[in-house]
Symmetry: D2
Subunit: 303 residues, 4 copies
């Protein structure tokens, strides 16, 4: 019933090709028009890059937004990266009026995780990071409660307790901003039960990903799992999205659902909800950190 074949734990240490350090990702976004791909790929070809994988999408043939993500191999990437970036800016991006980002695939994304008392999303992220499943480096866990400090300590990750009350919220957000400034590339709200102010979102300077339970139909107000039970919903869902000031939910990155039945009590429903929340959040963070997600207005393109 079991076999003795291959005990190497592939999930912890995936085989990386020798040239993994020479792989880069380029993401570009601009107004669509003819010749964009030719310009970009000619540039890469001219500089000796070999495209491994490429995706592009346009929101419309005329007047649309063009988005491209490409992975390429370039010998001695690290020493050439900085120059390549400047050359791309001059030779391509300015001509297209394009935004772009160039990044070595081996560089992890620096992440701050905000939590309150729920541990399921936090632990899943820490665990996947440790196993090498997520290309992230968790710079700090920030919480308005001290409860989860022991769990986080076991991973050797700094835990910063920043209490928040209605009165101290502006001051608390300033402390948080000081902590994060220049230290992280992404903030993940892993069931952080505080509303971040528009000021915070303006000043944090990096994307913020949030995870949210979701139901068909949607429920307003408190105790959503209790409401879900009363309506007899058959699916419990979760939505990972970028946090924005105006909207309760910003551009959606990923969603999924899990099936439930009338046998599930409120505790069972919220347990199923926790399972789907951690899965959806991990996917969203992974895709974001692999530069797979483009925000376009209120929607996203996920390659």
């Amino acid at each position: 019933m079991t076999t003795t074949v291959s005990e190497r734990p592939a999930t912890r240490a995936p085989i990386e090709p020798a040239e993994a350090g020479d792989i880069a990702r380029l993401v570009v976004s601009c107004s669509d028009g003819p010749g964009i791909v030719a310009l970009i790929t000619s540039f890469l070809h001219r500089h000796g890059a070999n495209i491994l994988q490429s995706d592009q999408f346009s929101t419309g043939a005329t007047g649309g937004r063009f988005m491209l993500r490409t992975e390429f191999h370039l010998a001695r990437l690290r020493e050439r990266m900085h120059l390549l970036e400047r050359q791309f800016d001059v030779e391509v991006a300015r001509r297209l009026g394009a935004e772009f980002r160039l990044r070595a695939a081996a560089t992890p994304t620096r992440v701050a995780i905000f939590v309150s008392r729920y541990d399921h999303c936090l632990l899943d992220l820490l665990w996947r990071a440790r196993r090498g499943e997520l290309p992230i480096q968790v710079a700090a866990v920030v919480s308005n409660h001290p409860d989860l400090e022991p769990d986080v300590a076991a991973f050797g990750t700094p835990y910063v307790h920043v209490p928040v009350t209605r009165a101290t919220k502006p001051a608390a957000e300033r402390v948080q901003l000081d902590l994060l400034r220049g230290e992280v590339d992404l903030v993940v709200l892993a069931r952080y039960m505080q509303i971040l102010s528009g000021d915070f979102l303006d000043q944090v300077g990096v994307p913020v990903i949030n995870i949210h339970h979701s139901f068909l139909p949607a429920f307003a107000g408190a105790s959503p799992y209790e409401q879900a039970r009363q309506r007899g919903v058959k699916l419990i869902g979760a939505t990972a999205h970028y946090a924005t000031e105006d909207l309760d939910e910003g551009p959606i990155i990923e969603q999924d659902v899990v099936r439930v039945s009338h046998r599930a009590g409120v505790a069972d429903l919220s347990r199923s909800g926790a399972d789907i929340e951690r899965t959806v959040l991990a996917r969203a963070v992974g895709w974001h950190c692999a530069d797979r997600v483009f925000v376009h207005g209120t929607t996203t393109v996920v390659f």
Copy 2:
């Protein structure tokens, strides 16, 4: 790549055991308390029935609602059924203050399908009925438009065109009610794009099942697929529920979703929506007609 084994098309003519005509279903619902199951099963045993399958559920140990569905075999069912029903009423139901329904499993449910111009849910139901996948007999298709008459004619099913305008709606509903009275056990709204009045729902006297597209998060207003596209939703869903006067959506019978991506235009989204709608509606109708669905307040129990 293909095999010559067994060409019998099992899906059209499933093997029925010789005694299929002797199988009945009993559904019971009452206030929970001790001894209910013992009373019911002793009754069945005493009258020579052999229980094949049984499900029960209570909404709470004390003060809850008890629901039971049982399938049993009873020799010479048809001739004994009527008497058995009266005996159950006297010996069990009155003592428990219970509602119950006893039905020969081989008796199909008589259904009226209401449609407008969308054909996907209608054709799926007609097709599954013809294949024997759904235990229903479609008594009539009722539509406020003539468009789908040829499709329905191919199945040999009556098609009744009842035009509806704001002014003629009360009269139209009276025509519909006259058509249905005593002729059907269930009304299915298979994308019927008219709001039925509370009067209609009060007087129709049989359950009404509706199918509804559903999104995470929910959208109000017109053009839901356009809204879904603008929000970048990753899942398109459908909800089948019992129609009620007060609520936009009554007790939910079944829900499911299908995955979509940024590549899907509005037409693709509504095509995916159509696929999931017909699947969810067929499941809900099948479960209802197999007496698997209990309504309890605003929720359902589905065995």
Copy 3:
């Protein structure tokens, strides 16, 4: 519970942009190396094409196989298509040693569907074709049995009955090949319960897609649903693949599963199997006809 908004049946007549006739698809496959994408996209740009969507994939950075699929808009496509094809051959394909195919997106794929007595896959394909969900034109249905002729006649599609016995199989295959020659671009085995010979597959000259039930674990021999029931499987699957002579299953295009329980008898299992078979086959045929599937050795790349 229902709304009066927008009665236009989008699923039957999706809005096509005015220039739909000017959209083409180009698929290219060759040994990977630097500069391929630049060469192709420069060609398209030079000839006035505007790329709408593009996917590419390489099986490895060095020595791999490169595959590209692109959709582009080109004014007056139909009159320029033939010349463009020859130019691409001379200016790009020969230099790369590439295989390619250029096709107007609006041109439907001509399909022959082979069946025996099971109707579920056949009817689903005919139905989706009629609704415009599949970009196919069903040239003929070929069967070794007369049973399904009435069903097919209702769609106005020719039905050709070619009986097959062990003795007459070679002659029957010659009849089938004569029927198909030059008339179809694809053969779909929609539960055709005869093994096609290697000779047939060699001579038919177009791809052949088959649908196959699949289980975890796999079962050899007769009565797979009976075996599945005896092993207590919890999932019933289907696999759509290209038919090949040597293998019982060729390169896989699509797979999916549906959940079953111990309550399902053999008839229920094969009904669930039929549902998932028709869904998986429709997806595979749709992707193939949209030029989304590349065969690479024993595997496929599906964009």
Copy 4:
């Protein structure tokens, strides 16, 4: 985007009703025949038990196997349990020739987890046990390697390193059996990469659950993920089953799949496989420990 509502972490400490300690589960299995349910439910009623939930299934109306699982509430359960068990044996089980098991729902199942070097299934079980998601008490982790000891130590669970070579296997199994005897109710093979002998399975005296990757189609031999990649499979699956001597796979408890694409390399496939393995194993262990799984020959009934 986030709310301040309800910070209580429901997933760690689900609300248990005051009488949770008074809930018991009874599972019964015997040859089917009339009156069984009446006998059992009358017994429970007579002794003051109130049935909360009940499932039953028969493999056939005549000559089939009857299986029943019921949860009931009985005041002062703990002091009455032992007597009730003897009474049930005398008054019901012997008359029916039935096997039965009676258990307080609050009593956790004592589990030994066997592992080698893969940590994903092990950590998921330990984590869910700590969170109260699985009603188990992990008595020990047994491994043929020392690698995972630090991970296990963090949970305060004993880790027993029992090296196994071809020569020492019989001795190692005796050591394992001595360790387990009387101490555990279940052995879980959480990717234990050693084949347990038939002798071990005979003598261990408790059920053994194994987790196994599964593919459509199945692959024999080494490197299944490499084979899966070469065949272009679109689904990666896992099967949890009871371990048996004769079969490579015994009665199946649960199966599930995850979708993969041509972009996934072997490392990605085995990572997806790890994710689905841990999910499927956790479900199977949870259902087993809730007495939801009946083995009937080579199949299972899962309530």
